[in-house]
């Protein structure tokens, strides 16, 4: 009897164990299979030559308004880009600077877009003044460049070809607005670019050849950089990053020839806006004809003090922390 019992028991045990094992393997297998299951991935290369994989859904196809004859040194014909900065709305939120730094992979100590704490005279109120390259129509920087590395386009944008720049810094000496920065060493853009690829889809294919349209992609040691009016975004009919990022609608961008500027939500007729609000330009008397207009800091919404909390006199670029 014992023997039969034992046999029965052992069979039961076997079945029991087998079932459990089977169940386990199914579940375990499913778990393993799920972790392996991924979206279709695409390979990209970062500036250090590392291959990075990103899901296809994150890579976007963008339509282009560039014709076949687009020449990066000539730009978009029949357009002239201008910017209007409404100083009455700026409260130093610094979102513009953060977005510009991030999207141009800026890793130096000097941001291309700086928000100055200004006070014109002791009697009037201090105010916040965002300053970026003014893309002057008679640019002092372009005049003095010995190798034609920085150039003025038909559409008004002034760009830098950092594959030609010899790093003499004459353009930096000539610019009265102090908007040009120098790459004193090779900036480490690898980490920040990787983050961009993973987080957003809105990043250039890293295998695409360098173009002055997208300044900072990459930045090279011993060359000069500055705001590029996001020439690389115009192609996709998108506004510059600073215009997009500003929560207060401070920046307006548009085409002088179309007499229209927009901050993404409000669109104005440029000539009327400048007339009504007495738009002016910085250092007009130097005769450089900048493309950036300022609206006076009158009737400010938030006053000046709110921005002081975020004011850092000695820092304009938050460095990406190395993981």
């Amino acid at each position: 009897m014992t023997k039969i019992n034992e046999d029965c028991n052992s069979r039961r045990k076997f079945l029991d164990k087998g079932l459990k094992l089977g169940l386990l393997s199914v579940i375990g297998g499913a778990a393993v299979a799920k972790s392996l299951e991924e979206e279709e991935m695409v390979e990209l290369m970062d500036t250090d030559g590392n291959i990075v994989k990103a899901p296809v859904s994150k890579i976007e196809e963008h339509s282009s308004i560039k014709g076949d004859h687009y020449d990066t040194r000539e730009g978009f014909p029949d357009k002239k880009f201008v910017m209007v900065i409404d100083l009455a709305r700026c409260n130093n939120s610094l979102e513009c600077q953060k977005s510009c730094n991030k999207n141009h992979f800026i890793q130096g100590d000097n941001a291309w877009l700086k928000i100055y704490n200004m006070q014109d005279n002791p009697e009037s109120s201090p105010y916040w003044m965002p300053t970026l390259c003014q893309h002057c129509d008679a640019p002092a920087c372009v005049k003095v460049c010995p190798v034609d590395a920085t150039f003025k386009r038909r559409d008004g944008i002034v760009l830098i070809d950092n594959e030609r720049c010899i790093g003499c810094r004459f353009c930096m000496a000539a610019c009265p607005y102090s908007v040009r920065i120098f790459n004193w060493d090779q900036p480490d853009q690898g980490e920040i670019k990787m983050n961009m690829v993973m987080e957003h889809g809105d990043v250039m294919d890293h295998n695409a050849p360098y173009t002055p349209d997208y300044a900072g992609n990459p930045s090279l040691k011993g060359t000069v950089d500055k705001c590029d009016f996001c020439a690389h975004r115009i192609d996709q009919e998108k506004l510059p990053h600073c215009v997009d990022a500003c929560p207060n609608g401070v920046y307006f961008f548009g085409d002088l020839y179309e007499d229209s500027v927009t901050n993404g939500s409000e669109t104005f007729q440029l000539s009327k806006l400048l007339k009504d609000k007495a738009g002016y330009r910085l250092m007009e008397d130097l005769g450089l004809n900048p493309s950036v207009y300022y609206l006076p800091p009158k009737n400010r919404q938030d006053g000046f003090e709110k921005g002081l909390e975020r004011y850092n006199e000695f820092e304009s670029v938050e460095k990406v922390k190395k993981s």
Binding site: K20, A31, S57, D137, K152, G201, E237, D259
Partner: protein
Amino acid sequence: MNQEIQKEMKQNRIRNSISQLLCILFIVFTNSLLQAQTKQQKARLSVSYYKEGNLNLLKASAIYKDETQFKPAQGLNLNAYQVFENDSLVLLGTMMVNAEGTAQIDVSKVFENDLLQYDFEVEHVGSEKYKKVSGDLSLKVAHLASELKPVDENYFIEAKLTDANNEPIPDTELKVKLQRFFSPLTVGTELYFTDENGTINVPITTIMPGMEGKLNYEVILQDSDDYGTIKSVIQTTIGKPIKDLSTFDQRTMWSPPRKAPWVVLIVPNILIFAVWLTLIILVINLFRISKHKNKSYEKH
């Protein structure tokens, strides 16, 4: 011996329970691992309709809350259906939400049936990233016709909003805008209300500049509960032609090297030529001196 068997049976029972317990624990553990890896997000889906000319788009917008921020529900796969009276669904197609959180699909074919009302449903069946979610839309057909009317020296934009039976739709907000590169510019006031004839009449007070005089005006019925968004575009040529005012073609001090002003190209080159010609002569003189060796010093 019975005692031995009983002992053994008891031990077996214990072993069984332990292994059962371990199995359960394993299953629970793996399940929670799976859950942790891909927490299903609940996307908020909204559906809208957009018509412009012959283009009929069913649009979807999807975002989800990631801790504190709202993010676009990128990669969300959506099925678009038309819902009929008998609650039957006809699959119109699929679309995927992009990086900006939007998706769209052309539903022009649907309107060939000439119904009074169209019902749509957009559904996400559920995936590892997103929970199942759906949204619907009820739509009535409306027509928006617009044209440019020159009156004496001025221009007016006239637009008429009618429904499927060609009856006017009064008291409805319409916007009139001028198409510009980044964003359209409002013409006149923000809103115009259609009158009892379903029309609006907007004067064009400023003649804006346009490429070769081309100005494209838009009359828009924005986000109507019944009719969706309808845009009617008027292509005109009443604009001021745009002139290229850039100095790109001129010879200036900030031009590329070949387009330098004539003075800057000519004068330095003349100076350089003159000076270096002299220097070359001087170098030649050195050679001449070298050649004139052992000559008699007396003048002959």
